[in-house]
Amino acid sequence: MAGDVGLIAIGAGLAIGLGAIGAGLAEASIGAAAVGAFTEKEELFGKGLIMTVIPETLVIFGMVIAIMLMQLAH
């Protein structure tokens, strides 16, 4: 069983870590574009912020999966 717990932990880590990498890659380019737009037109701050944080959900999904996996380990 001990080996299984280790694998579960690795799985949980991968779920959240890979999700975070994906979100980071996506947010990098969106964020750059949003800041560009924001400097041109200040009113776009709100919309830019929203666009930038949309991929964040990926990490949240990863986290949900991670927590569910950890429940398996108990």
């Binding site: 701050f45 709100g46 919309k47 912020l49 929203i50 944080v53 949309i54 964040e56 959900t57 990490v59 949240i60 999904f61 986290m63 949900v64 927590i67 950890m70 429940q71």
Partner: protein, 622 residues
């Protein structure tokens, strides 16, 4: 509270002879948002500004010109009207002051120029003094030429000595951290001398203004310096005079600048009106609560010879300006609407929902009595320091209070489970009961997202009728209902066949496809993703709580070691928690805002309203 301020569409038609009175009255009322007239028919033209307009702008320019001539460091207390009965008197006074000031400035300019010249003269004489050269020696010769140069490089002197001793004579003196050199050389050796000098960085000193001077440079310098003192005194006198005038006229000018700006705005108001040879017409909006007052005032000044029409705004077809109508407290959250987009006049104003959810989400994420208290104090101080950020700071203060409330729920005080040795009761343990917290988060999500759908149904129903509301928005709820029915039936909580649930879900999908087209069907997964997105409430919170605990446990271990480590422990606790609070505030702010903007607003919000900007004094305050 759920709608923006209700307005009447206002049409005013009156005789042109009352135009000025009407403009004055509207300006004082400051309640009518005037819609600019765009030429559209054969009867009405765009109005012309009042005749006085040009005169007023000229006068305003004069006032501003005088203000620009006054020194900036003159402080005045308040504004004064002065004793002008007519614009004529003001104009004459302005011209007089302007001329006086220009003369003074001209004189000042001349004296400053002389001052500059004398300063260079004095400096050059000082150079000659160092070189021990009389100015009359620096004249034109038939076979000899001379140059005075400044250099930081000592090698230049050495090179001249070794390479050109036979053709030139020079004197060297220390000057300003470098070498000052006077070189006299034969005209036919000019090329050679120049070549040597060009290898080293140097500056040639021009001495034109010393032409015609004779005698010892020391005595000459003293004379020049005496003159300089005289000129400086004159400059001081002139500046004093200008300052005196400034002190006297600045309050008056500031007063009239404001009056003239107002008058100019009034004089240009007819540009927004429609006019025919005898009649003017204006259209605009007025808040319902001010309608009666506007009506009475306008009728009074025109002896009831004015036509006023107050109409309801047809929300399905027309737009109207947006003025928020919120009680104190909620009005702070308008900040988030202005940052995103103003709601349209015809739709539900979601500010109240933002005001209810934002601080709760923030508190849910940060949730720590200690962090809440610290940030509460910080935001109270910041509110005092930056009055123009008051709205945002108020939002943060509400959020900090909710952080304290949730701190008691989680039983956390700077990550510890006790306040000054007293154990706190724990309702939900954040780090151990993650699953419960996750379920609560998602439950909040389900409520919030569905509230969004319900608001969407109301908006659609009002604007486009029942059918559209049913297909575009209610279909989402039907799909959700179908899924729930399927789940309950398959677990045999309710006695219906599972297929009913599937049928209802499919019916919902078909309705959605009809309402929103393929776009709607593609968006279906957002039902799940948007709800699960609320798990961030738990996630960001655990991260912050976990970090706090790590800081405390490391500090505890350091404390146990004693001696110097106690100091490290204290440092770690302070720096760690400050950093964690700042991170937590940023996380709490962004996530709470995002849940509103992305997960909630997308279900119903259209946006794109334009702000209510009434004609009158207030419009300048904005």
């Amino acid at each position: 509270m759920l709608r923006t301020e209700r307005m009447y569409k206002l049409t005013v038609i009156g005789a042109k002879k009352y135009l000025e009175e009407v403009v004055d009255a509207l300006y004082d009322l400051g309640a009518v948002h005037i819609k600019e007239y765009e030429k559209s028919d054969e009867f009405f033209d765009i109005g012309k500004p009042f005749e006085k307009s040009e005169r007023i702008s000229k006068l305003l320019m004069k006032v501003r010109a005088i203000l620009s001539l006054l020194p900036k460091d003159v402080e005045v207390d308040g504004k004064r009207a002065g004793s002008f009965k007519k614009f004529d008197e003001l104009e004459a006074w302005c011209i007089e002051i302007h001329e006086k000031l220009e003369k003074l400035h001209d004189a000042l300019r001349k004296y400053t120029e002389t001052q500059e010249k004398l300063k260079t003269k004095a400096e050059h004489l000082k150079m000659l003094e160092k070189l021990n050269l009389k100015p009359e020696l620096l004249t034109e010769y038939s076979t000899i030429q001379w140059k005075i140069i400044l250099t930081k490089n000592d090698d230049l002197v050495k090179k001249l000595e070794s390479k050109a001793k036979d053709v030139c004579e020079f004197r060297v003196a220390e000057y300003d951290g470098g070498k000052l050199i006077a070189v006299f050389y034969r005209k036919d050796a000019e090329k050679k001398v120049n070549e040597i000098m060009s290898n080293y960085e140097h500056a040639v000193v021009e001495l034109k203004e010393l032409e015609g001077m004779e005698g010892s440079p020391t005595i000459l310098k003293k004379e020049v310096e005496k003159e300089l003192v005289k000129v400086e005194k004159e400059i001081e006198k002139l500046q004093e005079k200008i300052k005196e005038i400034a002190k006297r006229v600045k309050p008056i000018l500031l007063y009239w600048q404001e009056v003239l700006e107002e008058e100019a705005e009034k004089a240009e108001a007819p540009l927004k009106f429609a006019t025919s040879p005898n009649v003017f017409m204006l259209k605009g909006w007025v808040p319902k609560k001010n309608a009666e007052k506007v009506k009475k005032t306008l009728e009074k000044i025109t002896n009831k010879t004015i036509y006023l029409k107050f109409e309801e705004v047809d929300e399905k077809k027309e737009n109207a300006p947006v003025k928020f109508a919120h009680p104190k407290g909620v009005d702070n959250f308008q900040y988030f609407m202005e940052m995103y987009s103003l709601p349209r006049y015809s739709e539900i104003d979601p500010t109240l929902f933002v005001a209810l959810t934002f601080p709760v989400y923030f508190g849910f994420i940060l949730g720590d009595v200690g962090y809440g208290l610290t940030s509460l104090i910080a935001f109270l101080l910041l509110r005092q320091k930056f009055p123009n950020l008051k709205k945002l700071m108020n939002i943060f203060i509400f959020s900090a209070i909710m952080t304290i409330v949730f701190g008691f729920v989680y039983g956390e005080f700077f990550g510890l489970n006790e306040i000054a040795g007293i154990k706190m009761p724990v309702l939900i343990h954040r780090v151990h009961e993650t699953m419960d917290l996750l379920l609560i988060s998602v439950a909040i999500g389900i409520i919030h997202v569905n509230l969004g759908f319900i608001l969407g149904i109301i908006n659609e129903w009002k604007l486009h009728g029942f059918k559209k509301a049913l297909f575009e928005k209610a279909s989402w709820l039907i799909i959700e209902g179908g899924v729930v029915m399927y789940y309950l039936a398959s677990k045999s909580y309710i006695a219906i066949p599972k297929e009913t649930g599937i049928a209802v879900t499919l019916a919902g999908v078909v309705m959605l496809a009809k309402g929103e087209g393929i776009k709607g069907v593609v968006e279906l997964p957002t039902l799940l993703s948007h709800t699960l997105s609320y798990a961030r409430l738990m996630g960001a919170g655990i991260a912050s709580a976990g970090l706090a605990m790590v800081i405390d446990s490391i500090a505890g271990q350091l404390m146990a070691k004693g001696s110097v480590f106690v100091l490290f422990a204290i440092l770690l606790v302070i720096m760690g928690h400050v950093m964690n609070i700042m991170l937590g505030i940023m996380e709490g702010f962004l996530h709470s805002l995002r849940l509103n903007y992305v997960e909630f607003f997308t279900k119903f919000f259209i946006g794109g309203g334009f702000p209510y900007n009434p004609f009158g004094k207030k419009s300048k305050m904005r």
